[in-house]
C-alpha cells in the first residue's frame, strides 16, 4: 500500500491522480474513478486546494527574485533592497532664446531677472503642454534697449522643462515616528524635485536638502533625502536617522516638496513656445511694466520619457549595485551613464582604451546610440553632462573619449530554388514572404552594439518559409556612408556643419571586419554614384590590386587612376577626394565592400550593423526537382 502521496506534480490533474493512486492501494473505497461519485467530489476539493496553494507558493517565490518577478511593485521593492531607485517619468526639455525689446521705454533698470517657473505653452497633437524655466535667468541692456536673457553660466540657450508645478507640504512628527512622507502622484519627475525644510510652519528661511544619490560623503549633519517610487506607483520621501544617514527634520519642521508633474514622452517634439503671461518688471521709478517676451526655439523639446519599465529595472538594478556609484570598470560607465541619461539613449557600449583601435592607456571609450530625433546640439549638451558625471565618479586621471557609433549596412543578394508543385503559393508570393522573413531576421538580430549577422541563421529561416523552397544561398555585401562634410561642436555647445563637396579632402572609411582580397574577376570595393568633373562616377578598386580609382560610369574608364587604397583589415583611405555633388537627394556616398567572410559579420566596439533593403535583392528560381 502506498503510504505517501506523491507531491511533485502541482497541476490539478496530477494532484488528483496522485490521490487516486493512493486510494487505489486501499480497498476502503472504490468509486474514485467515477467523476460523479462523492469520493471524486471530495478529491476535487482536496486537489483544487493543493493546486491553489502550490500556485500561490510558486508566485510568491517568483516574485521574491529580481530575475523572475512579474509585478512592478515586486521589482521596485527588490531593487530598493540593493540601493536602486527606478527612474520616474522624465520631463522633456527644450532650449530657447528669450529676449525683451524695451526700445521706447524710459527709466530702464540695468538688469532684468526672470525667476524659475516662468510658464510657456505649447501644443503637440492638439494637446496643450506647459513648459517652464528651471533656474533664474537674467539679462542686461545690449545698448539698443534689447535685453537677452542668459543663465547664471552666461549661456543664451535656456532650458525650459515640461510639466506642471506642484507643491506638497508636510509637518514633521517626532523622530521616533520614523516618518515616511507620501506624495500621491505617479507623474512626479524625480529630477525636478526640490525639498525645502523650514524651522517652523511660519518660517521664511529654509534649508534645501540634497538627494542621497548625489551625496559623495555623508555625516550626521548632512541634509539628505531619499525620494523613491512606492510599490503602489506613487512616491515616498524619507530622511536620514540623524546619525549615519544624515540629519533628520525635527518635530514641528515644515517640509515643502516642489516638483513637476510630467507628461513623460508626450512632451517631446514641441517646437513653438508661447509665454503664458507677460514678463513684468519694476523700472527705476518703481512703476510696474508688463511686456511680451520674445521666444526663439533653439532645440525642439526632447528627452521626455515614461517610468522605467520593469524589464529595464530587471536589467539595470544588479549592474548599478555592482558599480557602487563609482566609475571603475568599463561596464560601470555604461550603467551609470544609463542611470542618468537613459531617456536619451537607445544603446551604449564602453571599452577600455587598451582595446581601442589605437591603444590609449588611461582612457575609457564610450559609444552611444542616441534615440532618433535628437538634435546635434542636444547630443553635444548630453555629452558635456556625461563628462561632468565622469569627473565626479571616475578614477582620478582617467579620460573619457566619445566614439560616435558607425553604422555598417548589410545587403544581401538572395536566391532560392522554388518548386511550384510543392505549394499552392505563387513564386511572387513566396518571394514577398522571403523578403519579409529576411527583414524580420535583421530587425531582431542586428541594430545594437555587439549584435552579429550570421548568414546561416538567415538562410535557415528562408528555407522554412514554404515547403516549396528547396534551398537558398546569399551573397553578402556591406557598405558605409561617406558624408563629405565636417561637423564641429563649439564652446557654447552649438554645432556647426560645413559641406566639403567640391573640396579636396582626405577620408578614412573603416569597416569592422576584413575585406575580401583583390582578384582578377570581382571588384572588392565599389560605391554609389557621385558627380566628379561633371561626370557620373563611382569608386572601384583596380582588379588584382588594392588601388581605388574613380570610374566614369558612361565609359567605364578611370577618371582618376589612384584616389586611394584599401587594406584587408577593413580600412579604406581616400586622398584628395573631391566629389562635386551627390544625386538622389542624399548627402552621402555608399562605399560598398565585399567582406572576406560573408558567413558571419561581427561588429566590434562602436560598430552597429543595420539592414539595407534598397541594396538587397531576392530571386526565386523555378525548378522541378524535389
Amino acid at each position: 500500500m502506498a503510504t505517501t502521496v506523491k507531491s511533485t506534480g502541482l497541476d490539478f490533474e496530477s494532484i488528483k491522480g496522485n490521490l487516486k493512486t493512493f486510494l487505489a492501494a486501499s480497498d476502503e473505497f472504490t468509486d474514485y474513478n467515477f467523476e460523479a461519485s462523492g469520493l471524486s467530489n471530495i478529491l476535487d476539493v482536496l486537489a483544487y486546494n493543493t493546486h491553489y496553494n502550490a500556485l500561490i507558493a510558486n508566485y510568491a517565490l517568483n516574485e521574491s527574485f529580481i530575475g523572475t518577478a512579474q509585478l512592478r511593485s515586486s521589482l521596485v521593492s527588490l531593487s530598493e533592497g540593493i540601493g536602486y531607485i527606478p527612474d520616474s517619468k522624465k520631463s522633456a526639455v527644450a532650449k530657447v532664446k528669450l529676449s525683451v525689446n524695451l526700445s521706447g521705454e524710459a527709466n530702464l533698470p540695468s538688469k532684468l531677472t526672470i525667476a524659475s517657473g516662468h510658464v510657456f505653452n505649447t501644443t503637440i497633437d492638439g494637446v496643450v503642454y506647459k513648459f517652464e524655466t528651471i533656474a533664474p535667468i537674467s539679462a542686461t541692456n545690449n545698448g539698443s534697449d534689447v535685453f537677452f536673457f542668459k543663465t547664471a553660466d552666461g549661456i543664451e540657450n535656456i532650458d525650459i522643462k515640461e510639466g506642471i508645478s506642484r507643491t506638497k507640504t508636510f509637518i514633521a512628527g517626532p523622530a521616533t515616528e520614523n516618518d515616511v512622507f507620501v506624495i500621491p502622484d505617479n507623474t512626479l519627475d524625480l529630477t525636478s524635485a526640490v525639498i525645502k525644510v523650514y524651522e517652523t510652519s511660519s518660517s521664511t528661511s529654509f534649508t534645501t536638502y540634497q538627494s542621497i544619490l548625489d551625496a559623495s560623503a555623508i555625516t550626521n549633519s548632512s541634509t539628505l533625502y531619499v525620494l523613491k517610487e512606492a510599490p503602489n506607483g506613487n512616491f515616498e520621501l524619507s530622511f536620514g536617522n540623524g546619525t549615519t544617514l544624515g540629519k533628520s527634520p525635527v518635530a514641528g519642521n515644515k517640509i515643502v516638496v516642489e516638483y513637476l508633474s510630467s507628461a513623460g514622452s508626450d512632451g517631446n517634439n514641441a517646437s513653438v513656445f508661447t509665454p503664458n503671461t507677460q514678463f513684468s518688471f519694476t523700472n527705476n521709478i518703481t512703476e510696474t511694466v508688463n511686456i511680451d517676451l520674445n521666444v526663439t526655439t533653439v532645440n525642439n523639446s526632447a528627452g521626455g520619457s515614461e517610468k522605467e519599465s520593469i524589464e529595464s529595472i530587471r536589467k539595470n538594478a544588479p549592474f548599478q549595485y555592482s558599480s557602487q556609484n563609482r566609475m571603475v570598470t568599463a561596464n560601470d560607465y555604461s550603467s551609470l551613464i544609463l542611470r542618468n541619461f537613459s531617456n536619451y539613449i537607445n544603446d551604449i557600449k564602453t571599452w577600455g582604451g587598451e582595446d581601442a583601435q589605437i591603444p590609449e592607456f588611461g582612457a575609457v571609450y564610450v559609444s552611444i546610440d542616441f534615440i532618433a530625433g535628437l538634435e546635434a546640439e542636444t547630443i553635444a549638451s548630453i555629452k558635456r553632462d556625461i563628462e561632468e558625471l565622469s569627473d565626479q565618479l571616475s578614477i582620478v586621471s582617467f579620460k573619457l573619449r566619445f566614439e560616435d557609433p558607425t553604422n555598417t549596412f548589410i545587403s544581401t543578394d538572395l536566391s532560392f530554388e522554388f518548386n511550384p508543385s510543392l505549394a499552392t503559393l505563387s513564386l511572387n508570393t513566396v518571394q514577398d514572404l522571403v523578403r519579409t522573413e529576411v527583414e524580420q531576421y535583421f530587425s531582431s538580430a542586428v541594430g545594437k552594439f555587439g549584435q552579429s549577422f550570421r548568414r546561416s541563421n538567415m538562410l535557415s529561416l528562408v528555407d522554412e518559409v514554404s515547403s516549396a523552397v528547396l534551398s537558398s544561398k546569399s551573397a553578402v555585401k556591406m557598405h558605409q556612408r561617406l558624408i563629405p562634410q565636417v561637423t564641429v561642436t563649439n564652446n557654447d555647445r552649438s554645432v556647426t556643419t560645413t559641406s566639403k563637396l567640391g573640396t579636396a579632402q582626405d577620408y578614412i572609411v573603416r569597416f569592422p571586419v576584413e575585406i575580401q582580397g583583390a582578384d582578377d574577376i570581382n571588384y572588392s570595393i565599389t560605391s554609389s554614384t557621385f558627380s566628379f568633373q561633371n561626370k557620373n562616377c563611382i569608386l572601384r578598386n583596380k582588379l588584382k590590386t588594392n588601388v581605388i580609382q574613380i570610374i566614369d560610369l558612361s565609359t567605364q574608364s578611370p577618371v582618376i587612376d589612384n584616389i586611394g587604397s584599401y587594406e584587408g583589415s577593413g580600412k579604406i583611405t581616400l586622398t584628395g577626394f573631391a566629389p562635386e555633388s551627390i544625386p538622389g537627394g542624399v548627402d552621402y556616398i555608399k562605399v560598398i565592400a565585399v567582406p572576406a567572410n560573408q558567413a558571419a559579420i561581427s561588429p566590434i566596439r562602436e560598430s552597429i550593423l543595420q539592414y539595407d533593403e534598397t541594396e538587397s535583392s531576392f530571386r526565386g528560381l523555378i525548378v522541378s526537382s524535389q
Partner: protein, 147 residues
C-alpha cells in the same frame, strides 16, 4: 499418508472455519456525512453509490466542478429559461448526455420531466439500471426557484 505441516503463523488450516464474503464493487463516501457509532462516516455501496452519483450529476451546474466545465446536467439554469413545450425535451437530453458521459455504471431506461410554470419548478424522474447487476432504480427530484 503424508502429514500436513502448517507454519506457525498459519496454524492448522483444517481446523479454521471458512468465511465467504461477497466483494462490494462500488464503495463511496456518503455525502450526508452522518456519523456512525464508531466515529467514522457512513459509506454508500452498490446501487446506493450509483444513485448518489446520479443525484450529484443532476444537481450540478456547468462550471461548478473545477477543471471540468461541462460536468453536470445544468438543470437549475433551465429554471430561468422561458418555459415552453421544448423545455422538457431539452432537460431530458441534458440528463441523458451527462449520465452517458460521466456515469458509466448506469444505463438510463426512462426520463420523465414535468415543467411546472405556476410553481417555477421542474420535476424529474429518472429510471436507470445498474449495468452489472440488472437492478432497476428510480430517482426523483424537484428543482424550483426560491420564493
Amino acid at each position: 499418508m503424508a502429514t500436513k505441516i502448517f507454519s506457525q503463523e498459519d496454524g492448522n488450516l483444517d481446523a479454521a472455519s471458512i468465511v465467504v464474503t461477497r466483494d462490494l464493487i462500488y464503495k463511496d463516501i456518503d455525502l450526508n456525512f452522518n456519523k456512525r457509532t464508531t466515529g467514522d462516516i457512513f459509506k454508500k455501496t452498490e446501487a446506493a453509490a450509483v444513485r448518489q452519483a446520479i443525484k450529484t450529476l443532476i444537481s450540478t451546474n456547468r462550471f461548478e466542478k473545477p477543471f471540468k466545465p461541462d460536468f453536470g446536467a445544468d438543470i437549475r439554469s433551465m429554471l430561468f429559461e422561458l418555459a415552453d413545450e421544448k423545455s422538457g425535451g431539452e432537460i431530458i437530453s441534458r440528463i441523458k448526455n451527462t449520465v452517458q458521459q460521466y456515469e458509466p455504471r448506469a444505463g438510463v431506461r426512462k426520463i420523465t420531466v414535468e415543467v411546472s410554470e405556476i410553481y417555477n419548478a421542474i420535476d424529474v424522474k429518472i429510471v436507470f439500471q445498474i449495468l452489472n447487476t440488472d437492478q432497476i432504480i428510480t430517482y426523483e427530484t424537484t428543482v424550483s426557484r426560491l420564493v
